[in-house]
Amino acid sequence: MNEDEKLALLKTILLTDEREYAENISAKINILEETLRERQKLSEKINPIIRDELEEFSASIPQRLGPTITETLKIQIAKSKDEVVEALYPIMGKMIKKYISQELKMLTEKVNATAKETLSLAGLKRKIMAIFTGVSEKEMILSNMVNAQVEQVFLIEKGSGILLGSYQMKDTVDKDMLSGMLTAIKGFVEDAFKEKGHDLQSIEYDLYVIHLHSFHKYYIATAVSGTFTETLEGELESFNLEVSQEINKKDIINHRDQLEELLLKNYSNLKFSNQ
């Protein structure tokens, strides 16, 4: 083999390997290009990766984004309270309405069940009382279910609103300031209607009824909890009249200690007829 033949052989060996390698690379590039160009093929490759990443991300949302979302929501709610209230109001309203109607339904069922116990001694007693007193049997049952109770009594000087004496089951806000405010409210309402000789008779506050009973120089404000029916209001007014007579008889209107002793003695023992 001469030199030329040797060179030719070497070229053949070298170039054949290079060509095969180049062809191989070219084929791979073609497949890659095809994969990138054709959506379906690209999807087949990428989708599993994205899916895995998404699953991992979803699983880590509570830990990674929870605090940020909570904080953002807090800020947004604080910034737009009115909008939040507006959005929640109908939902809350419906819930409350549903709850109340449910409670009323239960109450009605209870009243009916009690009313049907006609043969029991209590039932007969109630029926007889209803005939004699003119109070409906159902009203009696209702009154018994949520007994009215005198919580606080304030004897307040008319006009000035100065507290003359009080009785209360538990401590409340400043009695002197409360007496002043009650008098201011009473005065405001009576003034607003511009009719003389008429008095504000009650104020409803949360679960309390504040009954106002006017006398010549003072008025008695009584905070009553529970079901305070007109019958009980009549009873309370009769009781107030008796207490007032006792105050006049003993002439203790300006003697706070004696007055409060009398109020305690009387109102702590006050029981309405349905109790």
């Binding site: 000087e157 008319k158 006009g159 000035s160 609103g161 100065i162 507290l163 400043d174 002197d176 300031m177 002043g180 405010m181 201011a184 009473k186 005065g187 405001f188 009576e190 003034d191 706070r256």
Partner: protein, 159 residues
């Protein structure tokens, strides 16, 4: 212990609420909040060895006393008429206003006072006092000058 109703009256922004807050809570704030209706506070004082419970009715500012609801003024034991010494319009008709109070509300004691002495140049308070000699006292709700003396004075008049 005796309780006495004191009603504080006067024009808008003369410092009625600030005066009461300085006396009752010993605080002062520059924020001006309009009083609507009436606000009631109390403080107990010892005057001549006797406890006096002052029930303070802070009324909303009005141009004339007649504009205040009568219901708020009934049974008052003493009035404090507050003026702003830097605004003459708040004390121009003081004599007529005091006359109205005296004739309609049992001739009870009335103290008329000028508030905001803190706004006067230093050393000019005595000159102002001479100029506004129809006022019983000059006070400053902001700095607290004379505020306690004012309420002690009216309490003494009532017992």
């Amino acid at each position: 212990m005796v309780s006495k109703k004191i009603v504080i009256v006067g024009h808008f922004g003369v410092g009625k609420t600030s005066l009461i807050r300085r006396f009752v809570e010993d605080v002062f704030t520059e924020d001006y909040k309009v009083t609507i209706g009436v606000h009631i506070l109390k403080k107990t004082l010892i005057v001549n060895d006797q406890e006096v419970n002052l029930i303070l009715w802070d009324t909303e500012g009005t141009d004339t006393i007649e504009d205040i609801r009568k219901a708020y003024l009934l049974g008052t034991h003493g009035f404090i008429f507050v003026c702003d010494i830097t605004r003459p319009s708040t004390y121009e008709n003081i004599a007529a206003q005091k006359e109205y109070l005296s004739s309609n509300f049992n001739n009870v004691p009335i103290l008329s006072i000028g508030n905001k002495t803190d706004l006067l140049p230093k050393g000019s308070i005595s000159d102002k006092k001479e100029e506004l000699d129809f006022l019983d006292m000059l006070v400053s709700a902001k700095e607290g000058n004379n505020v306690n003396r004012l309420f002690e004075r009216i309490a003494k008049l009532l017992i």
